[in-house]
């Protein structure tokens, strides 16, 4: 009877396990295996190179590390500016303000738009030449700041920052939703009690909201890092490619190795290294937040 029950239980989860195994476990293991080979993605034969691909990436591929630095910069802007904005807007919408449901809807529109479309539309808005409307530069001129006018997407010194800001605009809606959900779990009685004790709005915010929101902030930060480090479609939409390396990010490098150089093994090794970097960063964030909560 007990055996039958156990078999039944395994049978229930069998379809999910099979799907998970075929579509997640096998490709995952295959990527690991291919990372140790030179393979063009076509020939049935592969050449075993051991750790050669990994060694090349780590010691001989400056464009890879440049892409990591670029993604790190975009992530830094997303972690700070994007999440700060998302937190502030969520905090505002959590309070009794007029049209708050309308704002919730509006703030969630950018994340659900296609990254490619967002890239192309922003590209049109920003470009100040026959390719675009140049609204930013026109606005600067109208504000009496003509010395700030520049080719935001064609100047090597501004292209990455522009990409990072547009990425943050597109992504802040997710953070907004997460923060809003977190804020709504904080018992209102705490604020009322604080008010009775004479706490002002700033004190309530720093002594109640912030400490209770730490786990949510950590979650949002981890999701931001994972999402932003892997962004690439928006960049293609905005600048068409890596812009002489100035807008290069790891996924574009992996794509270049696989698609344009036919180095599937090398691309797999890049994917593994990238995965390890993301895991390490996420783990560090988690440890840091745990310490912060305990402290």
């Amino acid at each position: 009877m007990r055996l039958k029950s156990t078999l039944e239980n395994y049978l229930f989860i069998l379809p999910a396990v099979v799907i998970f195994f075929i579509f997640y476990v096998i490709p995952f293991l295959w990527v690991f295996q291919l990372g140790f080979y030179n393979w063009d993605g076509i020939l049935p034969t592969k050449t075993f190179v051991g750790l050669g691909n990994f060694k090349d990436i780590i010691f001989n591929d400056p464009s890879w590390w440049r892409s990591i630095r670029n993604a790190g910069f975009i992530t830094f802007i997303a972690l700070t500016l994007q999440n700060a904005l998302a937190f502030l807007l969520a905090w505002a919408c959590d309070r009794q303000i007029r049209l708050k449901n309308f704002y919730r809807l509006i703030f969630f529109i950018p994340p659900i738009l296609s990254e490619l479309v967002v890239g192309m539309v922003w590209g049109f808005i920003i470009r100040d030449n026959p390719q675009g409307a140049g609204l930013i530069n026109r606005g600067l001129v109208a504000l009496g700041l003509p010395n700030l006018v520049r080719g935001w997407l064609s100047d090597k010194s501004t292209v990455l920052t522009t990409v990072a800001l547009i990425h943050s605009w597109k992504g802040f809606g997710w953070g907004f939703l997460i923060f809003l959900a977190g804020l709504q779990t904080i018992p209102r009685e705490l604020y009322e009690a604080a008010k009775v004790d004479g706490a002002n709005a700033w004190q309530s915010f720093t002594k109640i909201t912030i400490p209770l929101m730490v786990p949510v902030v950590v979650l949002a930060a981890i999701l931001t890092v994972l999402g932003t480090m892997q962004a690439f479609v928006l960049i293609i939409g905005l600048v068409g490619g890596e812009f002489a390396g100035h807008a290069s990010v790891p996924v574009l490098r992996i794509l270049a190795s696989m698609r344009y150089s036919s180095r599937f093994g090398y691309a797999c090794s890049q994917g593994i290294i990238f995965g390890v970097i993301l895991i390490v960063v996420s783990f560090m964030q988690y440890r840091f937040s745990k310490k912060a909560r305990q402290g």
């Binding site: 069998l14 026959p130 390719q131 997407l153 068409g240 812009f243 036919s262």
Partner: protein
């Protein structure tokens, strides 16, 4: 409840089994009428292909199933994935480099068509432009280790050249019948274009391969084919003065204001829009643009020229040859029928129809007299055409990438031609050392 779930689980498994068996059933049913499946990426030719498929079915009773997968990047990945899974269709195109094409052949996915081409005194082979066939040919002793043969059927030909807007030439006070014939003349036009607040030249140099194409044109012109090939073989360094001269041309164009602002972030579709809407004086584009421009602006008045020569030492070369080719799956049960279909598909009647409807240059040379003037201008330059796929040696992809990105850096004023040459050579030496 538990019993119910158990039954549901069994039912689900049975459903999964039946569902997975469905494609097999479909295949058996399809046996009743022979179907040849053709994969392609050419969105602009889809209606014409469908029309020809209907005509072929009416003539022979064999159904041709054209399956379109776009964009070309996605198509290319699909073909690779299908090859790995042994699911290639009867006929397909390969969009990758000659090295990748060679891998497909070596893996046994592509049928050698040489014997079919040679039937009846080479009648099929002779109907094509030599340069159209060359991209699918592997000669004796080729460096890819492929058995000599012809492994593809060209559907059309293309050349990549410069086009200029005749109306804007008039607006600039220039003679529209005298486009620049030397690089200096092109540079001299920069000031004029700038003062008229027009855009000089546009091209999809955000998609770096077009930069590679432009650079190679001038490499052939400045140092000749032999030296370019010697560079690929590692016998001439990229730091050679001739290569630095080639790289310097990009700086000269940028300094003269010939290149459009934001050129290195421009995709070719945008470049085509700018030229078709008469915002730029020049464009560097392939012969496929005739159809694109016609769709965007039917009244556009433009001419076709070779990139203006930078040197008198060697003739200018342009990339060209087969625009697209179809390969026959060597493992297909329908390969004989597929070859018959391609023979029909590339005869002069079908080629003339395709050219007329899609404004692409026919691969069959017998129909050249039936094509529009601007297309004929593109076709005339086929004698100057070359392509990395016909060189028998190929450059390391990492070197090509470094060269293309380096040129982007020159255009944005980040690096000098000398710096780029040095960096490219460093990567070349690293790759050569690895190969050794």
């Amino acid at each position: 409840m538990r019993r119910l779930l158990f039954k549901f689980s069994i039912l689900f498994s049975v459903f999964c089994f039946l569902f997975s068996a469905l494609p097999g059933c479909a295949k058996k049913e399809g046996m009743a009428k022979k179907t040849i499946t053709v994969w392609h990426w050419m969105t602009d030719r889809e209606p014409a292909f469908q029309e020809l498929a209907s005509r072929y079915e009416a003539e022979t009773g064999i159904k041709i199933n054209f399956e379109l997968y776009a964009p070309s990047d996605a198509y290319s990945q699909k073909v690779r994935a299908a090859a790995q899974g042994a699911n290639l269709p009867d006929v397909f195109g390969i969009l990758d480099t000659k090295k990748d094409f060679a891998s497909f052949v070596k893996a046994g996915y592509v049928l050698n068509l040489a014997s079919y081409m040679q039937e009846n005194n080479n009648s099929w082979k002779n109907s094509f432009f030599d340069k159209a066939l060359a991209v699918s040919e592997f000669s004796e002793g080729n460096s890819y280790g492929v058995l000599p043969g012809i492994y593809g059927v060209p559907i059309d030909i293309m050349t990549i050249q410069m086009v200029y807007n005749k109306n804007l030439f008039k607006q600039l006070g220039l003679d529209s019948k005298k486009p620049p014939s030397t690089f200096q003349e092109l540079i001299d036009m920069g000031k004029l274009i700038k003062s008229a607040h027009l855009v000089g030249m546009v091209s999809g140099w955000g998609e770096v391969w077009m930069i590679d194409c432009f650079a190679n044109n001038y490499a052939f012109n400045i140092m000749g084919k032999d030296k370019v090939i010697a560079t690929i073989k590692g016998l001439v360094p990229y730091t050679d003065p001739d290569w630095i001269k080639v790289l310097g041309l990009f700086k000269d164009m940028q300094d003269a204001g010939i290149l459009s602002d934001g050129m290195i972030a421009m995709v070719n579709k945008t470049a085509e829009q700018l030229f078709a809407t008469e915002k730029s004086v020049f464009a560097f584009n392939g012969s496929w643009c005739v159809n694109v421009y016609k769709g965007m602006n039917p009244d556009l008045d433009y001419g076709v020229i070779l990139p203006p020569k930078a040197s008198e030492n060697f003739p200018m070369a342009i990339w060209g040859g087969a625009g697209s080719s179809f390969m026959v799956n060597a493992k297909s049960e329908n390969k004989e029928e597929a070859v018959k279909f391609l023979r029909w598909f590339t005869n002069s009647n079908q080629q003339a129809y395709l050219s007329e409807v899609t404004n692409n240059l026919p691969a069959n040379k017998e129909c050249l007299n039936k094509i529009p003037e601007v297309l004929a201008q593109f076709a005339k330059s086929i004698e100057y055409a070359t392509h990395p796929n016909v060189w028998d040696v190929s450059e390391f992809p990492t070197v090509i990438e470094a060269l293309d990105k380096g040129i982007q850096s020159i255009i944005i004023g980040e690096k000098t031609p000398q710096q780029v040459a040095f960096e490219v050579q460093k990567i070349k030496e690293r790759e050569l050392a690895k190969k050794r």
